[in-house]
Symmetry: C2
Subunit: 213 residues, 2 copies
Amino acid sequence: MTSTGRSQLRRIEERGSRDSKDIHAILDAAFLAHVGFHQDGQPFVIPMIYGRQEDTLYLHGSAVSRLLTTLDAGVPACVTVTMIDGLVLARSAFHHSMNYRSVVAFGTCKKIPGSSGMTRALRVISEHVLAGRWQDVRGPTRAELAETTVVEFRIEEASAKCRQGPPLDEEDDYDRPTWAGLLPLTLTRALPQPDPRLKAGIELPSYLMRPDT
Amino acid sequence: MTSTGRSQLRRIEERGSRDSKDIHAILDAAFLAHVGFHQDGQPFVIPMIYGRQEDTLYLHGSAVSRLLTTLDAGVPACVTVTMIDGLVLARSAFHHSMNYRSVVAFGTCKKIPGSSGMTRALRVISEHVLAGRWQDVRGPTRAELAETTVVEFRIEEASAKCRQGPPLDEEDDYDRPTWAGLLPLTLTRALPQPDPRLKAGIELPSYLMRPDT
């Protein structure tokens, strides 16, 4: 990855990183990105599921979606991924904050042509979101691929930001009689819900059994 | 709100709405937005906490952040809010999906001048994120306000999108021996964690006690 002014971390440098390891760790912990681009001077930000392989993110959607038909054209894009870890409740309004991990990545999208390349990229997305799933499902047909656009977003430049830990108050405020601390927030899995039309005798696959479910 | 082509819902119309009630309900259920704008042809997407009042979203940040100094200038912006509700696991790769609620809003930001207007807007943000908190904390000083930029984003146009419910497979695929259903995902509160420096005898405030904590 290169570095221009785009990914310069302007504030609170200690919370930022341009290290690929930090960037990949955040990208691998999430699966939803907010993809920004502009068209005729109007910015758009669209939520999209992604998969990562090295410094490439794969995005997909309907062949007629605005995003993908625009990104096809190779316009510059910004892909941002944010994980919320909690609210930081300080003694002053000013020092309230959020614990989070985020990546802001810059690059350009390119449409992936051809069934085999598209299918490979769709597999990366599927395995990124839920490892083990792809082998269980019917793969895409040619007709389905014709309705799909898959783009690869090469990360040219990115930065990670992260805030963790308790509030940091002004020294004078620690004596205030205000409760302070963290309200942890986590995207949590609940028990898998079988499709009402699920055939009898089909067991829950092992990749959906987890200690927290 | 007006309607130009920007918020036209291109796909699967049944999942979309331009009704203010639907839009407000999603905006009120979340507190993190992804704000998109562009500068010198480069799109940026930045995660930001917000508060809502009628058709206005309030955003805040450091007075030196790139976003807020750019938005000051009244550039067009797109504010997108997405809540993940779960993975939709279909029998075919093609029909995999995500249950979610999202709003894509278009408008322009305007900097809020003056301490009283800024403080009012910061209170809206604080109460939006955690109702009841504002009265417990030390309000912002003039020096703190001088380090802060608060902008109001008037929603000129917006659309809500929502997918809920089980997978919808091709009729032929319902006979496949593949587990199908939902993996629900929810942003969940864990037990509040007191600041290590919290003074003895300060009770957890009632607005942090909830059935799920």
